[in-house]
Symmetry: D2
Subunit: 102 residues, 4 copies
């Protein structure tokens, strides 16, 4: 579909979409598992270990998405000329600041 | 129920269990939402904002569980005397190190 | 010396004080090195690598101090009875929250 | 000076150099202060507060340097064409991953 193709081109992470979706499905499963551990009152330290693992998995997804964003949106905008690349870098830097602090 | 009561006493975070379960249900929903955003190829920066929010929510749960662990398991062990409190603090410090680095 | 001994007993991390001071001296040197790198306009990515290393070194010190705090102040207060242990755990949990989010 | 100008052009964060140097001087002072607090056996929790503040200050510097790197090195390389921009983004993404995890 033309519309979707354009969409892919502009947001640019389609090449790895299945890999992201698989990772995110695993992340959902990890979140569900943590909920079950609390419900079953598993030993607190074991729950914390799972939360650290889930946080790391999320960070891997975030860093991957940022890399795709820089490689596609930012580079495309830079090559097209104009001010859009600066704007996209500003957005990316703000997102990096939020990730580093979260 | 006696069995459950004993269980509560030993793992000690039952007082806030419903609050934790509600938060974790929200966290599961956030994870599902991020998956959907990737599937629908939402703008990458917006997905990163949601990942930061989910990471912060997880950290709040983790810090709460740690606080409960210290207030219940560690204090109980300290008051009971013996070496168990040192062992529990060792476990807690290792968990803190993993959280700080994740 | 009696005064110092009392002081040690209350803040409790004296056993490793030299190790902490050595690490912190290294950390100061790392901070000075980063300043020099910026002044000499070293390649940005290399500066970022040093900032990550310095952040990790600080986290190691922080987790060590927390562990000492729990093992000494908190356990001593718990064994002494009364409300002071809860108060010290509250302080520790707040410090953990700041570390996890910083 | 021609040499320096070239250097500035290639590493690109010279516009804010004084601001960075001032921040890093403050960071050095914070590191020295933490060392002195440990030496004087200040209350552990107060030292942890200073470590969190220093970590946040370092993250602000890191995010600023990354932003400058993207705005200058990466954009310049993208506009020049060729493969260098991809290489610079790869380096930046690796640096982001280290920062997010540290």
């Amino acid at each position: 579909m033309t519309t979707t193709d354009t969409h892919h081109a502009s947001h640019g992470y389609i090449s790895d979409k299945d890999r992201y979706l698989n990772r995110l499905k695993r992340i959902e499963g990890q979140a569900r598992g943590i909920s079950r551990m609390v419900d079953e009152e598993v030993y607190c330290i074991d729950i914390l270990t799972q939360i650290s693992a889930l946080t790391s998995a999320l960070q891997t997804v975030a860093v991957g998405l940022l890399d795709d964003h820089l490689k596609h949106c930012v580079l495309d905008a830079a090559r097209a000329g104009g001010d859009e690349a600066e704007q996209k870098i500003k957005e990316a830097s703000d997102a990096i600041a939020r990730l580093v602090r979260s």
